[in-house]
């Protein structure tokens, strides 16, 4: 099965092609929005390099956030249009899951942290005791201090001598000082080549979703924003009756997470 993986949800962005579960081409760069915009050109080149016809693709995998709203929409839109126009299934991958999957196996609980705006981050905690990360608890959005409180509440930092947590993601770099001040040697910042989502990982995880029959219709695919736009928030504060109707983002991915 030939699958294209797209990630534009954070500070890195890229595209990958996999065949039979193996990454055969991968482009990833520390990007600005400008670079995400050119990913369809990169894909076109990669297909040529491999001698593949675009119609050889049998699936599309995409990271759907949480992350940059504008950035994620670029990849999600490309994925939904590829899925629709090639009539192939789409596997949606939560960006936090993809970052956790960078670590193939570890005894330590893994906590990817992705920067939202200002001092707000997205995060979740995983056990990586097999080839796929298992999410423990919920996806969270909040201040960096709350991340550490959440992990403590899950009971992973009880023993100051032995309990450690591995932090990944751009948030782990940005908030390194705060994390280390709070946790000292209990905090392990992941190796730099593991910190961001990789399009190859997204492709493999998306393929697994597709194989499991967990596909998203191109019409329904939207980013996993984990939060309303600030205007919607302001509106809901003004009109509490609106909030009762529940107009949050649709199509939240399975809370159990992917892989």
């Amino acid at each position: 099965m030939r699958v294209v993986g797209i990630d534009t949800s954070t500070f890195t962005g890229g595209v990958a092609l996999i065949a039979n579960g193996q990454v055969v081409a991968e482009y990833s760069a520390y990007v600005t929005r400008r670079n995400s915009e050119s990913l369809m050109g990169v894909l076109d080149e990669m297909l040529k390099d491999l001698g593949w016809d675009v119609r050889d693709l049998q699936g599309v995998a995409v990271s759907i956030g949480p992350g940059s709203f504008t950035g994620t929409r670029i990849g999600v839109t490309m994925a939904k249009v590829l899925g629709y126009s090639l009539d192939i299934p789409i596997g949606a991958v939560v960006t936090l899951d993809a970052v956790a999957a960078n670590v193939p196996f570890t005894e330590l609980p893994v906590c990817p942290i992705i920067c939202a705006r200002r001092d707000i981050v997205y995060n979740a905690v995983y056990r990586v005791d097999g080839p796929c990360p298992r999410k423990v608890g919920e996806y969270n959005v909040g201040k960096i201090a709350e991340v550490i409180d959440n992990i403590k509440r899950l009971g992973y930092l009880e023993n100051r001598e032995h309990d450690k947590v591995m932090f990944l993601g751009d948030g782990a770099i940005k908030h390194k000082r705060v994390i280390e001040e709070r946790l000292h040697e209990q905090a392990v910042i992941g190796p730099p080549w593991y910190l961001g989502p990789r399009p190859g990982v997204v492709a493999v995880m998306g393929q697994r979703q597709i194989a499991a029959g967990n596909v998203v219709d191109a019409r329904d695919l939207v980013p996993f924003y984990m939060g309303k736009s600030s205007a919607e928030k302001a509106q809901n504060e003004r009109r509490p009756e609106e909030r009762a109707k529940g107009n949050g983002c649709r199509n939240h991915p399975d809370e159990k997470g992917g892989s």
Binding site: E37, M40, D44, T77, K80, V81, Y225, S229
Partner: protein, 341 residues
């Protein structure tokens, strides 16, 4: 040739299918479908377009709108010759949705991609409905986002003679409408209520700027409407909305018509064209037609659905580029403040 156009630069998710014979002439064009999913109702609760809300809605709507445009045109994806989308000016997050969709379509279908300037597209809306229209002509593009006076020498060859130095004309309409307690969007609201008002009731200032300038300025006019309303209310009197709306509209129309007709005579053209959302304003059309007739000038304007944002106009620019052998790189970025060359 069958062009698919995509437009998402502001609050409309729009897709159109435009067919052409391959000749570089408006006579070659046949509009097969023109689908517009308007977000006006969504943004009305905020009193204006909220960029993040608009971008989210574009992502949700883009595929259904593409499907509807294809089915109404009675074509399938494999019939499309080239795909074209707005790459600016506009709200960057919103532009990016349509632009990303167009690039993905181009790759999936192995067809050329053409990125289009939205202001240029507004001008080209005139070609869709006026097969006899030929450059050169002078075109006034007025909308919520832009006010440009353009000399269109030939297809793809422009001289921008003037543009707004502050607010766009449509922006002034929206702000004045808010001051008068009228609904969003302000253009149609003022146009409607002004019909019951006296355009000579209040003499609002006309900003002609320095002698010979073709630039516009609407922020002073907007401020004087706001001050006028505040003064009347401070004196304990009630404002008569239709008179103020009509007088404001008259001040805008006067300047737009004067400058456009002066530009037409400088360039010695026989045709002036209107474009953009404000070109749907009934008073503007009326004044243009009346005063242009006196000067023996032909006035063209698109029907209202092609004045406001739509994708048919985007497909139209794409068509003329495609027939002259042009296409864009898949690297083409979204440019929020893109100007006409």
């Amino acid at each position: 040739m069958i062009m698919l156009g995509i437009e998402t630069s502001c609050d409309e998710t729009a897709v159109a299918v435009l067919e052409g014979t391959g000749e570089p002439s408006p006579r070659a064009l046949k509009l097969r479908s023109n689908i517009i999913a308007s977000q006006i109702a969504l943004h009305r609760q905020f009193g204006g377009v909220v960029p993040e809300v608009a971008s989210r809605r574009h992502v949700e709507t883009i595929i259904p709108v593409i499907e509807k445009a294809l089915s109404e045109a009675d074509v399938s994806l494999s019939d499309i010759t080239a795909v074209t989308a707005t790459h600016g000016p506009g709200l960057v997050g919103a532009v990016l949705v349509g632009l990303s969709a167009a690039k993905a379509l181009a790759v999936a279908l192995s067809i050329p991609f053409i990125g289009v300037n939205h202001v240029e597209a507004h001008m080209y809306a005139n070609f869709i409905e006026h097969p006899g229209l030929r450059p050169p002509f002078v075109c006034l593009v007025v909308s919520g986002g832009h006010s440009d006076l353009v000399y269109l020498k030939d297809y793809g060859d422009y001289q921008v003679m003037g543009r707004t130095r502050d607010d766009a004309a449509g922006e002034a309409f929206d702000k004045v409408a808010r001051t008068l307690g009228l609904s969003y969007p302000g253009g149609p609201a003022i146009d409607g209520v002004a019909r019951e008002g006296n355009p000579q009731a209040v003499r609002f200032p006309r900003a002609y700027l320095e002698k010979g300038s073709y630039d516009f300025s609407f922020s002073g006019l907007k401020t004087s409407v706001v001050n006028y309303v505040a003064n009347v209310e401070r004196e304990g009197n009630e404002i008569f909305v239709p008179d103020i709306a009509a007088s404001f509209q008259e001040a805008v129309v006067d300047v737009l018509v004067d400058k456009t007709l002066r530009a037409a005579s400088e360039k010695a053209v026989t045709t002036v064209a209107l474009a953009g959302g404000v070109a749907a304003n009934s008073r503007l059309r009326q004044e243009f037609s009346k005063r242009a007739q006196r000067k023996d000038l032909d006035v063209k304007y698109p029907s209202p659905v092609l004045c406001t944002d739509n994708a048919a106009m985007v497909a139209c620019v794409g068509y003329f580029q495609a027939v002259s052998g042009k296409s864009s790189s898949l690297d083409l970025p979204a440019v929020p403040n893109l100007h006409l060359e």
